[in-house]
Amino acid sequence: MDNCQQEKNKVQQELLESQERYRVLVETIPDIIYELDTEGKFVFVSEAVEMLGYKPQELMGKHFSEIIHPDDIAKVSRETVLLQYKGKVTGDEEAPKLFDERRTGKRATKNLEVRLLHKNKRSTPEDYFYGEVHSSGNWQEVGQQKRFVGSIGIIRDITKRKIVEKILTRAKEELEMQTLELRKANDNIKKLYRELENKNKELQALDKLKSDFLSMVSHELRTPLTTIREGVSQVLDGALGPISQQQREFLSISLDDIERLERIINELLDISKIESGKLDLKLEYVDLVGLVKNICIIFGTQAQKKNLALRQNFSKENIGIFIDKDMISQVLTNLVGNAIKFTQEGYVEISIEDKDDFVECSVKDTGCGIAEENLPKIFEKFQQFSRVAGPGEKGTGLGLSIVKGIIDIHRGKLFVESKLNCGSKFSFILPKITLKEVMEDYIAKGLEEASSYNSSFSIINFGVNNFEALLKTIGPEKCNFVLGNLEQLVRLYLRKKSDLVIRENHPLFIILPLTEKTVAIKIMQRILSNFNNFLLTNRLNTLVSIYSKVFSFPQDCKTKDEFLNFLEIR
């Protein structure tokens, strides 16, 4: 009996210990653990329920709906939910989820989301917690049978997670809205871009119309003017018989103004070409020193008449550079002409300096100068400041903008320094373009032209065999004589403006746009036989031997690189 009692006490003791252990375990879990009776009333709830403001004992005997958000009660109660599922068979996944679950095992409730209310904080519709419920039916064995006694479950607080989820959802929605707006904005931009493109096309068409108009007008003006000038100058020249002194005087005045009108028309034409980008650079290797010397000869008498010294200052005897000779002549003529025009005493000095990558050229005078406030406008069109010019020296106000346009397309830079009554200095720098760059340009242009007119393009290459050895035997001076004569001879055989001779020193290239190989070969043979005659008469035929080659598109070369390769330009 004692043993039995002892055994009983021991079992009871162990039971108490076990109960206590489970109680501690249950109360340690931060989730709310609950037990309901068959009617859904609380028979146990862990202390974690205090997060909702309740003491566990307050809820004992109360229906679970006490702590559920009113809108959610019907969604989680067996009583209401199961009505909807009456007569339906569901799989485990779609099975209803219940707070007061009856089922157990696999079909028990997992992850049922439900809103929970706080005991005291119910003032706004936003005051609730989010709980995630796992619940199961609680069955007890009575003899052979199992009896449903209620539900057991846990509620995990997922409020924080839900808030983050909400924020994320809202952010996502906002992002979607913004994406939508961006897409709309993008569509608008595209539309605007198309409109701009159309406007741009219209403007380009207008601009083309303007320059077409200008060049047409200039041409139409020039044609009758040529006849007028020719008529006047023939009378002046005495081609129609002798004239009196007074007649000569009046015709001279007419001729002066005819020439002025021609200059204006030419300058307008130049400006329209520069503005429409139609000005094509015709690059040749030119000695700038020689070019400036020539300009000084032309202006010599004009400077002498005004008692002005025309000074020249060169850093080297020869300064070779690839430029458009006619255009740079025009620049120099313009700057030197201006300098002489606006200088009454002192000098005009032209300097050229060979820097490594570029050449700097300047025209300095001791004339009336330009006021500081006018300097920024100096290169604009139709600008004429109150610089005193002599009679008959009125300009058009286009000269300096043409100068700027020409320097610009040479990718050079133009500068001006000036002080009123102390003189002006105009300088420009021209970058040194390499032979390869020049040839690349012409080959590209030639190929483009040939394919657009469905025609050909040829290059003739002349050179001296064993040039380096010849340089040693006859010296650079004689070599220059030979090559210079070759170039002169070649120039005689050029047929049209677009035919070009390119020679830095040795060898020499002839660019023949829109020219078939057979024609190019004929030209080459004529030059060759004439040049061999030249060598013979100068008794150079035993020393100098010439090679010549023709490369043509499309027979020999189809691309720029093929031409460069064949011509050995590196």
């Binding site: 040529t226 006849t227 020719e230 025609s455 055989y493 047929r495 049209k496």
Partner: protein, 126 residues
């Protein structure tokens, strides 16, 4: 010996000016106002050089040039064309048809006289 130059141009003003300038510079001149007249005068009078306008009503300069180069008795007379356009294809076509040189209108007498000299006294076989 005075060199004889045939000028073919439909513009009477230009014709007159060029004619007088060339006479003054020591050339003998013949004029024609269209291609047909030009062809006829070239055959009859055998000029040393022909100045030929491209833009003419009726038979234009290209057609005239072609006929001049086809006929045995006019084939070797050098022709300088006068072109108003100065388009590369224009000049190219004329050179291919056998023209010796070209002058772009409006031209100055100096340029014209230079080109005439170059063609009359230039390298053989041009």
């Amino acid at each position: 010996m005075q060199k004889k130059i045939l000028i073919v141009d439909d513009e009477p003003h230009i014709l007159k000016m060029v004619e007088n300038r060339l006479k003054f510079s020591g050339y003998e001149t013949i004029t024609a106002q269209d291609g047909n007249e030009g062809l006829k005068k070239a055959q009859e009078q055998k000029p040393h050089l022909i100045l030929l306008d491209i833009l003419m009503p009726g038979m234009n300069g290209f057609q005239t040039l072609k006929k001049l180069k086809e006929q045995e008795d006019t084939r070797n007379i050098p022709v300088i064309i006068l072109t108003a356009k100065g388009q590369p294809q224009d000049v190219e076509e004329a050179i291919n048809l056998g023209a010796s040189d070209y002058v772009v209108k409006p031209f100055t007498p100096i340029v014209l006289l230079e080109k005439i000299n170059k063609v009359l006294e230039g390298p053989k076989g041009q």
